[in-house]
């Protein structure tokens, strides 16, 4: 695992701005690590934004990279699976 289990992480976005995100789900598939995280950006109707990325390590830095459509399906499937399996259905 490139990064450990759930924690609050300091991240820097493409504009160089530092912010904190909460990692909600980390899993590995086909030797790749994926992460689902949130910046707790709340929207109307009690909705909150979740992001998904591929976790990579490059020159000692950890980088969250964009994922393909197929990978996005995989992440959504994993979220549903975890919620179902762990009885976390809200």
């Amino acid at each position: 695992m490139i990064i450990g289990e759930k924690s609050i992480l300091d991240v820097i976005d493409v504009d160089g701005l530092e912010q904190q995100v909460e990692v909600l789900l980390l899993f590995e598939a086909e030797n790749k690590q994926y992460v689902v995280y949130t910046k707790d950006e709340k929207k109307e109707n009690d909705l909150v934004m979740l992001y998904a990325s591929l976790v990579k390590e490059q020159e000692g830095r950890i980088v969250f990279e964009n994922i393909s459509d197929e990978e996005w399906e995989l992440v959504k499937q994993k979220m549903r699976e975890v919620m179902h399996k762990e009885g976390g259905n809200p």
Binding site: V14, D15, M49, G60, R61, P90
Partner: protein
């Protein structure tokens, strides 16, 4: 010009003129004024001040997002929490069982020793061979002792796993409370000294004052770290913009944002 100040996750942040939100402590650590800083100024500083050598940084390049119900988000977070709690509680159970086994083994050893002693005393009187006793009693404590060492080793191993899990959890707590040390430590610059930096002069006579109220071991260690950073700065003459950025960079990254760099109104 910042348009407003809001509080987000216990960290005071300001919204810059391009709508970006940044922590006030970060703005201060970069030597910028939160009241007047523009997005461009901030970006220029941040771009120069990122020190990738000091700690591992996570960068985001593009992202895939979805909107979910807050309840879903919370449930997902709780699942991760529950998993960690389960792991620790399982380890605690295993440790408890091993501790019981240790107590039992120690009792057995004590009994075996007492029996051996009694038999030895009898044999001294009767002058009979000890073979039977050596076989049944003397060897047994040896095995029990080995068992005891094994249990102890196993407990140590489990305790280590527990500590690793706890440390991982504490990391979250630290992240959430990172604002706290800011109240205690401030690195003050005399106006003249600050002017000296701004005017691109040599900084060999630079004298930063660290004001601290440290009295726990941890706090003292932290203060020493700050002194070390300041000394590192004093050892080098930074006369240009790159040098100044390097200094701010050192302060902000070594102290992980725990320290505010401010201009002092105090006279030396």
């Amino acid at each position: 010009m910042p348009v407003k100040t809001i509080t987000y996750q216990e960290t005071e942040i300001i919204m810059l003129d391009n709508g970006a939100c940044v922590p006030v402590e970060q703005v201060l650590a970069l030597g910028l004024d939160p009241a007047t800083v523009s997005a461009q100024e901030y970006k220029n500083k941040v771009g120069n001040a990122m020190n990738y050598e000091m700690y591992r940084i996570i960068e985001i390049h593009g992202k895939r997002a979805c909107m979910v119900k807050t309840a879903f988000r919370n449930a997902l977070a709780n699942i991760s929490n529950k998993k960690t709690c389960k792991k620790i509680s399982k380890l605690d159970q295993e440790i408890q069982m091993l501790q019981k086994s240790i107590a039992e083994t120690e009792r057995n050893i004590a009994i075996a020793k007492a029996e051996l002693q009694t038999e030895l005393e009898k044999n001294e009187v009767k002058n009979t061979p000890l073979t039977t006793y050596v076989k049944t009693v003397l060897y047994e404590p040896t095995l029990q002792t080995e068992l005891l060492a094994y249990y102890k080793e196993k407990i140590e191993e489990l305790e280590q796993i527990k500590q690793t899990i706890k440390k991982r959890n504490d990391k979250k707590v630290c992240s959430n409370t990172r604002k706290a040390p800011l109240k205690k430590y401030k690195l003050y610059f005399h106006p003249l000294q600050k002017k000296q930096i701004i005017q691109d002069t040599k900084c060999t006579n630079y004298n930063a004052q660290v004001e601290a109220i440290p009295f726990s071991e941890e706090e003292t260690a932290y203060r020493n770290q700050v002194y070390q950073i300041v000394n590192q700065f004093l050892d080098v003459s930074y006369g240009d913009e790159q040098g100044r950025n390097q200094f701010y960079n050192l302060i902000s990254s070594c102290t992980n944002g725990y320290i505010a760099v401010e201009e002092s109104t105090k006279t030396k």
